[in-house]
């Protein structure tokens, strides 16, 4: 039937796409899967005139009068400059050369195309912590030996070895996630007894991260697109659904897992009981009760709690989740109020340069996670891309922190940022 109606000002094209393709239109075209990183738009453009990301909308506001700079001057017996900023940071029990770490990218095809191992090597060399994502063992395999064309060669041990081969003594560390499906494969038990993990374990540089949720799709589990042959292999452990209708690809979903205050508390305690030599990290989605969840996790003994803002994500997600679901990172940080008293709070979501990282630190985060930025950087140059990206980021951080009259990331505070339209940050 020939279309004759028009509906100016309405989402006519989107409606027509849905009428043509059905449920496939809930997702970005699956042909982009593995080549494009997804996430909230954030920037205002002509095509996307939405509101500016709330964290980007903040301004960093140096004072005129700087008592902390005087302290540094006394310490150094000379005027301090940006090179005097010491970026060394304790991140969830690990010593990092900078207040940044590489966020998880798990079984997502992008992360598994060799970029994961390249990112691991470079993160190790830089002495910054790295999180290895969920669902690698059930989909890709433990050693990578089970890899197929669909899943690449990013086995969990390959990434561990890549990181460890380059990391200097005394810095860095790896956190391994485990999803509900991973629990069936006992990923943490495997890692804890793996001979190749013993060095990191013995030097206090191994953590297990309980993934409660993620920024790109809060309330949902991990989602990826897999070929139908792979889907048949995974069907016993994952939900797979033919939403694309092409007979070649299906949507693979992990369960998000059910959490209450007591379940979260006890899972963390059980991790501490079972793995006394490993650190315990927790990753939270940008939920409205993020303050309560963070407090429960710290009280139960988590060494770090990550809040992944709704801007986060590298994997596959339903379209409404990109721009309409979950709290922006800035609002998460305001709610958690980690600048008051806290354990270690980590923040992720559209992190790639110094000012956004500095704003997150000012709002209470101990460090910021690089997700898409790390993948793009190693895609640009698998040997040095992340090194160079971090060179920019750390220089920017030194410049910004010193401009604020401070000389350590931990010294940043809410006083260092200003929200347009307010006299002072309301926190």
């Amino acid at each position: 039937m020939t279309a004759s109606l028009t509906a100016a000002g309405f989402a006519e094209d989107d409606v027509r796409e849905r009428a043509r393709t059905g449920a496939a239109a809930v997702f970005p075209p699956h042909g982009e899967y593995g080549h494009r990183l997804f996430g909230a738009r954030g920037d205002r453009t002509a095509a996307s005139p939405g509101p500016l990301d709330p964290l980007d909308a903040l301004r960093l506001v140096p004072p005129v009068l700087m008592p902390h700079r005087l302290e540094k001057l006394v310490e150094l017996a000379r005027e301090p400059h940006y090179g005097d900023v010491d970026l060394t940071t304790d991140i969830g029990g690990f010593r990092s050369t900078a207040p940044v770490y590489v966020s998880a990218f798990g079984s997502t095809q992008v992360a598994d195309s060799g970029l994961g191992a390249a990112a691991s090597r470079q993160a190790g060399r830089l002495g910054i912590p790295m999180v290895i994502g969920e669902n690698i063992v059930p989909t890709v395999g433990y050693t990578g030996a089970a890899a197929t064309a669909d899943t690449g060669s990013g086995g969990i041990l390959a990434r561990l070895r890549a990181y460890e081969s380059e990391v200097p003594d005394g810095v860095g560390g790896i956190a391994f996630q485990q999803s509900t499906e991973d629990a069936d494969a006992e990923v943490w038990n495997l890692i804890y007894s793996a001979p190749s993990a013993q060095n990191l374990l013995a030097t206090g540089r191994l953590a297990f991260e309980l993934k409660v949720g993620q920024g790109a799709k809060p309330g949902l589990g991990g989602m990826t697109v897999v070929g139908t042959e792979t889907a048949a292999r995974l069907a016993e452990h994952f939900t797979t659904e033919d939403v694309f209708g092409d007979g070649k690809h299906v949507l693979r979903s992990s369960s998000p897992g059910t959490f209450t205050e007591e379940i979260l508390r006890q899972q963390i305690r059980f991790m501490r009981n079972n793995y006394p030599r490993a650190r315990v990290w927790v990753k939270l989605p940008p939920g409205r009760d993020v303050r309560t969840a963070t407090a429960v996790a710290w009280e139960a003994g988590a060494d770090a709690v990550t809040v992944d803002g709704a801007e986060g994500g590298s994997g596959w997600a339903p379209r409404p989740f990109f721009d309409h679901v979950g709290l922006p990172l800035a609002e998460c940080l305001r709610r958690v109020r980690a600048w008051e008293k806290s354990g270690c709070l980590l923040a992720s979501g559209r992190m790639w340069e110094g000012s956004r990282v500095a704003k997150a630190l000012a709002l209470g985060a101990r460090a910021a996670g690089l997700g898409r930025a790390a993948l793009l950087a190693v895609d640009e140059n698998p040997d040095d891309g992340l090194d160079r990206l971090l060179a920019c980021l750390t220089l920017e951080l030194r410049l910004i922190i010193s401009a604020l009259g401070k000389y350590a990331p931990a010294a940043l505070a809410p006083e260092d940022v200003w929200a347009p339209g307010t006299a002072q940050l309301d926190g």
Binding site: Q178, T180, E181, A183, D184, E186, W188, N189, L190, Y192, S193, P195, Q198, L210, E236, S255, G257, T258, F259, E262, I263, R265, Q266, Q267, I268, R269, F270, M271, R272, N273, N274, Y275, P276, R277, A300, G301
Partner: protein, 333 residues
Amino acid sequence: MTDQQETQPPTTLPAHLRNPVTRAMVRVQNRIVRAAREHLTAQGFTELRPPIIGPVTDPGGRGSKQIDIDFYGHRYKLMTSAILYKQASLLAFDKIFCVAPNVRLEPLETANTSRHLVEFHQLDVEIAGASRNDAMNVAQDIVATAAAAVVADLEDELAVLGRDPQAFAALLKEDAPFDRMTHADAVAGLSRLGHPQNPDAEIDWEGEALLSVRADRPFFITDYPKGSRGFYDRENPERPGVLTNFDLIAPEGYGELISGSEREHDYARIVARMRETGENPAKYAWYLDMVRGGIPASSGFGIGLERLTRYIAGLDAVWQATAFPKTPGVVSA
């Protein structure tokens, strides 16, 4: 208990099997099992042969890994304990026991505890309608009966093993329940000894050894915190966060012999507890279907047979208490 050379297995299985200590140990172990069987049978217990494989097994804790096997295209497990089948057995008999083979890939850090084997046996007991106290009494009777039988019948073997029968004087003389302390008491006691112990977790190996070495007969530790044990140990309804469970600790530094508890048996409670221990309820399908249909309330426990043998025979390490030792991380016969 002090010879460091004995903390690792012998280089070859033939050398171990030719060792007179091994032969004496096997006779002691057989006497222990016979004494337990006779005692339990006389008390009206029925012995069942336990399963070796299943789609799911005891999730355990403390980092031990299960062994997967391919079961016609499905992932099955070797039993890490018989707990799920023990609860199921109560649909047939009210009082059951079994001598169950278990396999756990224990973490490498347990290689030097002198009391971890990858392959071992549990003398498992489960009693429908029983309280924790009932189960503790049965556990005490088994240990006392076994020790008495060995002391009475195997004087020569104990001599070969260098085990002084007087080691059991306190155990056999006093006709009174073994001493009991709560987990909180144990944590406080360890703190006084200068040993930091996480109050939310299991007593660690060093802490347990410190408590054990100070005792002259076995004693119970009760009321472990919830985050330290599997989903089947019942949470005390009057004291949320505290489990109605127990361990029996051997004296002289031999450490834990038994773990037991009242069991969770309510379907919704079990599902919630599974989540609290990070388990995926979907893989427990047969068990949850059974629980949904109703299983009896019960209490029970498992005795580490090689650990009990080690204690009674006075062996330095638990690998000496099996003819075919497999210790964590060591590739052996």
